[in-house]
Symmetry: C2
Subunit: 198 residues, 2 copies
């Protein structure tokens, strides 16, 4: 059976990475899709794990050769999703999870229609604000910018297949894992098993 692609989006500070790390740690058949970027690596970041760090020239070559499922330019740097590692993992039966902002997620859905889009939200904007403050690396202006962006992102949630609420991380992890199991139980994924047998 082929793996499936699960695309997570949600406001900065909503806890997507925590959820993804927990789900990956709890399963031996889930892989994280590493993004490529042309930005400089920061201390502690590992090539091939945090990101694939490539030159601007190499990134533009990847664009030209259609090696990316989606890409975007942000504050002068490219960010994108290399297709080949995802294809390879899915072929080998792994589910692939990734964290992509809203516009990228929609591009992916257009190219991979059976990708499952999951929007991670908090039931109050205040919880998101608190998490951003706790991180401590955001200026008040950047914070307001992110909160405004969060409101816009939430307005796009309608185009997603599922909404996971991260008010409680245990609950959010349980929900994402349930979605991943349920998607594999859909009739379209399994009807061939009955047809072979009967």
């Amino acid at each position: 059976m082929k793996g499936k692609l699960f695309v997570l989006s949600g406001p900065s500070g909503v806890g997507k990475n925590t959820i993804l790390n927990r789900v990956i740690a709890a399963s031996d058949h889930v892989r994280y899709s590493v993004s490529a970027t042309s930005r400089q690596s920061r201390p502690g970041e590992v090539d091939g794990s945090s990101y694939y760090f490539v030159t601007r020239e190499r990134f533009e070559e990847m664009i030209a050769q259609d090696e990316l499922l989606e890409y975007a330019e942000y504050v002068g740097n490219y960010y994108g999703t290399p297709l080949a590692p995802i294809r390879e993992a899915m072929k080998n039966g792994f589910d692939v999870v990734m964290d992509v902002e809203v516009i990228g997620a929609k591009k992916i859905k257009a190219r991979v229609p059976d990708a499952v889009l999951v929007f991670v939200a908090a039931s109050s904007m205040d919880a998101v604000r608190q998490r951003l403050i706790a991180r401590g690396d955001v200026s008040p202006e950047a914070m307001e910018e992110r909160l405004k962006r969060a409101v816009w992102e939430c307005s796009q949630a309608e185009d997603y297949d599922y909404i996971v609420l991260n008010d409680d991380v245990e609950q959010a992890v349980r929900e994402l894992r349930a979605i991943m199991v349920a998607e594999k139980c859909k009739t379209v994924e399994r009807i061939h098993l009955l047809k072979e047998e009967f």
Copy 2:
């Protein structure tokens, strides 16, 4: 939030009751929909728990007054699904699970379009045969009849939303629970939470 209706079908002997009992025992917000029947109760059966046992006259009155979500006559006895207890449980936030054969399940889907249909199958017909033999209450002729019926039922699985494979009961219970959680995470169920907040 309103509860949802989950309708299970699948061949006799595939283990639907075991799965349902386990799922109900594991959750405090799941209720079993008890069927009504005009047949005599058997030793050990409890009115209101195994079935609602009613007279043939009362059953026909329930039909006439549209009190049933679906009904059928089988070997001279009526069997049907009373609507009122389901509505009441769902209004109080309970998910409702039920075990209905294929034709009844399709009638329910036509009347309650957001009911979730789950087909329980085994990946081999032989497993179903073994379970029927283990029960020991079925003659060889009745067995062949049931197996023929099982093949027909499996040919109807295409109209279901999900297929749960009961080769391993733990796995099947996990799958049904995942489906129930995932269905509550669907965007259509939750988008209002984001709209209220933002």
